[in-house]
């Protein structure tokens, strides 16, 4: 029971196997390829983001650098301009003022250029606006620093310009020491150049660092110079991770702020010791990751769907001819031998189908053959049976019995009928071909009894039977035909009384049966052909010498059979050689 269950689980249809393997292979390949692609994409987009972000920060840096450079150049040219003037006459002042105004107008984003004395008075200024009257510049850092550190350039952080009336621009200020002449006396003062911050501001605002990324600027003391969320930071609603920025002077690193991973890019600005910090949120990269993942997922699902359908179709196509073959074989199994396959398909299947057709035809032929053989066997069995019964002999004998009965020869009738019965019993022998020698002799005896009555006083007979032969086996119906021959061909036409002798003995390790008659004999030419040429059954049972000989040889082999000796007018001596076969 266990075995059959095991067997059933093992055999799956070809279609299923093909589909299954297609899908399996495709899924594995898809998964591997997807994972590789996914990782690659991810890494590429991460790198892209890093590179772009670095470029953005770099761009801001370059612009800021250019900005600072311009301010420095302007301050240099002013210094040169002023130091080359040496008179404090009104025209000269006006001339100087004019020059400075030209410089101012030459650049759109210059807001003001002014020179102050060490006591805080405005010496010269452009544009020519009045100073706010309640201004105390002495304490302001742009004024103080160049005084305390004479050869430095001071850069302020972005602020609202508040020196001149009606001016509230956002500017970055550069201040430095400057020498000017009044009436030939050199004085040191402070040069202040204010440049509009709006360009830098819009640049920083528009820096594209992913969806949520931004750029901010810190100075050398790690104070915020500019931050897009400055107001929120001032109000305490937001904070910035300046601690790490202080530690990492410049470069690229990741930080973790408010449970969010961010990419930080820091670059230094030349000349003013500011640093630009770019912040990119990892989430933006993750969003890309999710997008890619979903894309690949959908792609894979569609691909699997297509593969399933295609593999189902392909496997159906492949297995269809095989299925047809299977069906026909089942038909054949159920006994229909007229199946003939006309299958198109793979080479192997077509070959199978052709071979199958040939096989079916062969089987059909074989079965026909068997039928024919069975038929002929039945016929020959019937013939044999018929021959054993010999109608002529039967009619004649029955006639004799009737005659005897009419003539009230009761004893003769009893003898005849008894002999006849015994004869036929042994003749038929319940279909057996091999009987004992005793029975065969008995058979011959009964035959002779009957013939003796019919051919009254025509012949006599004598049996010489060796005791040790009685139990041996022999083919049946070998004595009677020969005796019949002896009577019809040998003795019937004799004038004198005939004599028939039947002997049995064991000679040369073989069973020897002899039939000797003193009849007409057989011509020596005839003897040769007697065993080979088919006799016409003109008289008698038709089972002639040839038949007996053939049967013996068929049954026992070529070394046994009939030996015929005969002399015309003298008699015939037939020897039957048989093997010794013991009976039980």
């Amino acid at each position: 029971m266990n075995l059959s269950r095991f067997k059933i689980r093992k055999t799956k249809s070809i279609q299923f196997l093909i589909t299954q393997s297609f899908i399996f292979v495709t899924i594995i390949t898809l998964i591997i390829v997807s994972m590789i692609m996914y990782n690659k994409f991810l890494r590429i987009s991460e790198n892209n983001l890093k590179t772009t972000s670095r470029q953005v920060v770099n761009q801001v840096n370059n612009n800021l650098d250019f900005y600072i450079q311009s301010m420095m150049e302007i301050s240099d040219s002013i210094v040169e301009l002023v130091s080359n003037s040496n008179e404090n006459s009104t025209e000269h002042n006006a001339y100087l003022s004019n020059e400075i105004n030209v410089v101012l107008k030459s650049r759109k984003d210059l807001v003001s250029i002014s020179i102050f004395s060490k006591s805080g008075n405005l010496i010269i200024g452009a544009p020519n606006k009045s100073v706010k009257n309640n201004l105390n510049i002495l304490t302001q850092d742009w004024f103080q620093t160049p005084i305390t550190q004479p050869s430095t350039l001071f850069f302020s952080s972005p602020h609202v310009e508040n020196i001149f009336e009606n001016q509230h621009n956002w500017v970055v200020s550069l201040s430095r020491e400057i020498t000017y002449n009044i009436s030939g006396i050199k004085y040191t003062g402070i040069l202040l150049v204010d440049m509009n911050f709006s360009a830098i501001d819009s640049l920083c605002q528009n820096a594209n660092l992913g969806k949520r990324g931004y750029v901010y600027i810190v100075d050398s003391n790690n104070n915020l110079v500019y931050h897009p969320k400055q107001q929120l930071i001032n109000a305490g609603l937001k904070s910035e991770n300046l601690y790490d920025v202080e530690k990492n002077v410049f470069g690229t690193y990741f930080d973790n702020f408010n449970n969010e991973k961010r990419l930080i890019i820091i670059e230094t600005v030349n000349n003013c010791r500011w640093r630009i910090v770019g912040v990119v949120y990892q989430d933006d990269i993750v969003k890309v990751k999710d997008d890619i993942f979903q894309f690949i997922l959908i792609l894979s699902v569609i691909a699997i769907l297509i593969v399933v359908i295609i593999s189902a179709l392909i496997s159906a196509k492949i297995s269809k001819p095989i299925k047809t073959l299977e069906k026909s074989m089942i038909q054949l199994k159920e006994g229909d031998f007229d199946v003939s396959l006309n299958i198109k398909g793979e080479k192997e299947v077509v070959n199978l189908a052709n071979t199958f057709n040939i096989m079916v035809i062969k089987i059909k032929n074989l079965m026909q053959q068997i039928l024919v053989e069975q038929e002929s066997k039945r016929k020959s069995d019937l013939n044999a049976l018929q021959s054993q019964i010999n109608p002529h002999f039967l009619y004649n004998t029955l006639d004799s019995i009737v005659w005897m009965a009419e003539n009230k020869k009761t004893l003769d009738v009893i003898t005849m009928v008894t002999a006849l019965a015994k004869l036929f019993r042994i003749s038929i022998s319940r279909g057996k071909n091999i009987i004992s020698v005793k029975e065969e002799i008995e058979h011959a005896k009964n035959y002779l009894i009957i013939q003796n009555v019919r051919y009254k006083n025509k012949f006599t007979y004598e049996f010489e039977i060796s005791e040790d032969t009685l139990k041996l086996k022999t083919l049946k119906l070998i004595l009677q035909p020969l005796i019949e021959n002896a009577i019809y061909h040998g003795i019937e036409y004799m004038v004198d009384e005939g004599e028939i002798q039947i002997k049995s003995s064991i000679k040369n390790n073989r069973l020897l049966l002899e039939i000797i008659d003193n009849g007409l004999g057989i011509a020596s030419e005839k003897i040769e052909n007697i065993l080979t040429i088919e006799e016409n059954p003109s008289k008698g049972s038709g089972v002639g010498l040839k038949n007996v000989h053939e049967r013996i040889q068929l049954c026992y082999g070529k070394e046994f059979g009939l030996d015929i000796h005969s002399e015309l007018e003298e008699g015939t001596h037939i020897k039957i050689w048989l093997p010794i076969e013991e009976g039980e």
């Binding site: 249809s13 279609q15 299923f16 589909t19 899908i23 706010k132 309640n134 952080s157 602020h159 609202v160 508040n162 009606n166 509230h168 621009n169 956002w170 911050f197 709006s198 501001d201 819009s202 969806k211 949520r212 897009p228 969320k229 400055q230 107001q231 929120l232 001032n234 109000a235 609603l237 999710d290 997008d291 979903q294 997922l297 959908i298 699902v301 569609i302 699997i304 769907l305 399933v308 189902a312």
Partner: protein
């Protein structure tokens, strides 16, 4: 049997497909839509709120619509804008109402559609309102505190308000009163509701004439402050008749620099815009938010106006 297996496989794959499509579309639809309706689409206040609101929208990845009429008393237009937002089925509405009672019906409609509404500057306790973000009352309180600390001994003040109906105007007034009533030596000699600087100019002149002991005027917004300042300047009463104002228009800043205005109280419109949008988004995402938020305000004087942190407040735009 094999048909069953095939069908099952296809079903399974379809489910996977639908799930993945779902999560894709989910990502798209998680972007919330916020509608911000202000009183007027010009001016310093509007511009700064917009900056803060935009920043929050960008940071929290949501869509933001900012609308307002061109006149800050045009209640009909504001009603229209509110209904428009409700019809668009936005996720949350932030409203700076010109007149709360006029808009109540539309507000109820929004409530029935499950659209939460955040009110700016309106301490109304209505079941239809999810939350209020207030700062005007606080600014009134700060003004009161400044006055208490500066003119402890005696103070005869006139109050010029800019609207009888505007809740933020009333909030400022209430805040102011809540402080000054603590000092019995402060007298309010006049209280008027005027709508522009011209009216305020005339009224100030009048008030000065009628009240020679007047030493302080409190003007509750930039328009009326400018009128009052002009009157004081012309009468050369700078320093005698002091002026405390609200907001920081460029004229007010000039007056502040020239000591005509002693102090001005400013709110944080940038922060208001930012926080309003932030809370609106949080509410749309299903998180709980407080029933009311108070965002502070600051006293600006000539001395502190150029400090780093105040510069950004007074001059939010880089020109």
């Amino acid at each position: 049997m094999k048909i069953k297996v095939l069908v099952f496989t296809i079903q399974f794959i379809l489910i996977l497909f639908i799930l993945s499509c779902n999560s894709v579309s989910n990502n798209e639809s998680t972007k919330k839509n916020i509608s911000l309706i202000l009183k007027v689409n010009s001016g310093h206040y509007w511009g700064t709120i917009k900056l803060g609101a935009d920043m929050a929208a960008k940071e929290y990845n949501s869509n933001l619509d900012i609308n307002a009429g061109s006149i800050d008393t045009d209640i009909e237009h504001q009603k229209f804008l509110l209904n428009q937002a409700i019809d668009k089925n936005v996720d949350c509405i932030i409203l700076d109402a010109i007149d709360f009672d006029e808009l109540l019906e539309s507000i109820k409609k929004a409530y029935s559609k499950n659209i939460p509404i955040l009110l700016l500057d309106n301490e109304v306790d209505s079941p239809y309102i999810t939350s209020t973000i207030n700062s005007s009352k606080d600014s009134g309180i700060k003004a009161g505190e400044f006055i208490l600390s500066t003119w402890k001994e005696s103070c005869n003040m006139g109050i010029i308000n800019f609207s009888r109906k505007d809740k933020s105007a009333l909030a400022r007034e209430n805040g102011l009163y809540s402080e000054i009533k603590k000092n019995l030596k402060i007298n309010v000699v006049g209280l008027e509701y005027l709508s522009d600087s011209n009216q305020s100019y005339l009224y100030t002149n009048n008030l000065i004439q009628r009240n020679p002991e007047l030493n302080l005027i409190v003007a509750l917004n930039d328009a009326v402050a400018e009128g009052a300042a002009q009157a004081i300047l012309e009468k050369k009463l700078t320093g005698i008749v002091n002026l405390v104002s609200f907001d920081a228009s460029s004229l007010e800043i000039k007056y502040l620099e020239n000591s005509i205005i002693n102090a001005t109280i400013i709110q944080y419109p940038f922060n208001i815009g930012y926080l309003a949008v932030k809370y609106a988004i949080e509410k749309s995402e299903g998180k709980d938010i407080d029933k009311s938020y108070t965002i502070g305000s600051k006293i600006i004087t000539k001395e502190n106006m150029y400090l780093q942190e105040n510069q950004k407040l007074l001059f939010p735009f880089i020109k």
